[in-house]
């Protein structure tokens, strides 16, 4: 009789341990300041972690708590150390109807070169844009020439062409929406994403 009790207790402990086994989720401060957060759902229960260092253990009641930074470092130092350099975006601006860069954008080109050099296995996306002066097909072509001008500059400065993807979006994606045939210097640009 006693042996049966012990066996039953052992079974119950095993079952409890099984229920308690869960996962740890922690939201961290984000460099860009955004705190969209993470929802954690287990069965019918859900918790939203939307503050830096908000955490939950799914093996418990899914309650949110604030975790110590030291505890995060202890558990996650390897995973965090392996985080790639955060992707970064740049904008270069052009003179009207041309592939000539604005004077102020030349320094940005140097920043891009320095950024590419510090990333292992860097990849670059270059997308050209225009304002709405001129016809759509002409602006498609101009936006592609702007992107190509940026690519040529980077290649001339030692960046490999095969790490770049290039596109022109013409006047379709303005930063500042305008009526047709309107000048808008902020839309005459190339967007360069380095990752």
């Amino acid at each position: 009789m006693r042996i049966v009790h012990i066996a039953a207790a052992a079974l119950m402990l095993t079952a409890l341990a099984g229920c308690a086994a869960g996962d740890l989720v922690v939201v961290l401060p984000h460099e860009d300041g955004s705190v969209g957060g993470v929802s954690v759902t287990k069965g019918a229960r859900q918790v939203l972690l939307d503050k830096p260092l908000a955490a939950t253990k799914t093996g418990g009641g899914l309650d949110a708590f604030t975790i110590e930074t030291a505890e995060v470092d202890k558990r996650f130092s390897d995973a965090l150390a392996a985080q790639p350099v955060a992707p970064r975006s740049y904008s270069l601006y052009f003179e009207e109807g041309s592939t000539r860069l604005h004077a102020g954008s030349k320094a940005v080109l140097q920043e891009i070169l320095a950024d590419v050099a510090r990333r292992p296995s860097a990849e670059i996306t270059v997308i050209g844009h225009t304002d709405r002066i001129g016809k759509v097909p002409d602006n498609d072509a101009l936006s592609r020439r702007r992107a190509a001008a940026v690519v040529d500059f980077l290649v001339t400065n030692g960046v490999k062409r095969d790490i770049m993807s290039v596109a022109g979006r013409g006047e379709r994606e303005p930063i500042v929406p305008t009526p047709d045939e309107t000048e808008e210097p902020r839309n005459r640009r190339a967007e360069i994403s380095v990752r």
């Binding site: 996962d23 989720v25 984000h30 287990k42 996650f76 392996a82 296995s121």
Partner: protein, 151 residues
């Protein structure tokens, strides 16, 4: 957009641009950017040793050995990295680089994961999910860490 013909041409070009931007299943979805110790990428049943600059694809499983770690940057600018003895499968990845719409579903089977969400989660909150052995995470845009079996 001066006449009807050019606006029709514009539409055709727009559709061509859109078609060109959708990532197909055969396209790489990310690149190995950091590596320490031993890590493997399992693709169609075969485990390949991971190297810096290697492409990863939908349905790959990323795994690290004891002392291993790996970091990947995805084409939507999200980043994920694993600590030692970890395993992460890249279940679904769809991304439209024009609209930024997409879906990114992963499963952390074991170990630790650090992640920063990218354009998919920013465009569509909770379109990025991480399944753990006990729960499912819906990412609304943030940096976060997960430890399978850690709580």
């Amino acid at each position: 957009m001066a006449n009807r013909n050019s606006s029709v041409l514009g539409c055709v070009a727009a559709i061509a641009v859109l078609l060109g931007q959708v990532a197909w299943a055969a396209d790489p979805i990310g690149t190995v950017k950091t590596l320490g110790g031993a890590a493997t990428i399992t693709r169609e049943g075969a485990a390949i040793p991971a190297t810096l600059g290697m492409s990863v694809f939908q349905a790959d499983t990323i795994a690290t050995a004891a002392g291993g770690r790996i970091g990947i940057t995805f084409v939507d600018n999200s980043t994920m990295s694993l600590g030692p003895n970890a395993s992460l499968s890249l279940d679904t990845f769809r991304f439209d680089s024009t609209t930024y719409e997409g879906q990114f579903q992963t499963t952390l089977k074991q170990g630790t994961l650090a992640a920063v969400s990218g354009r998919i989660a920013k465009q569509t909150p909770e379109a990025m999910t991480v399944r753990t052995p006990s729960a499912i995470l819906g990412v609304r845009g943030t940096k976060f860490v997960v430890q399978a079996g850690g709580g």
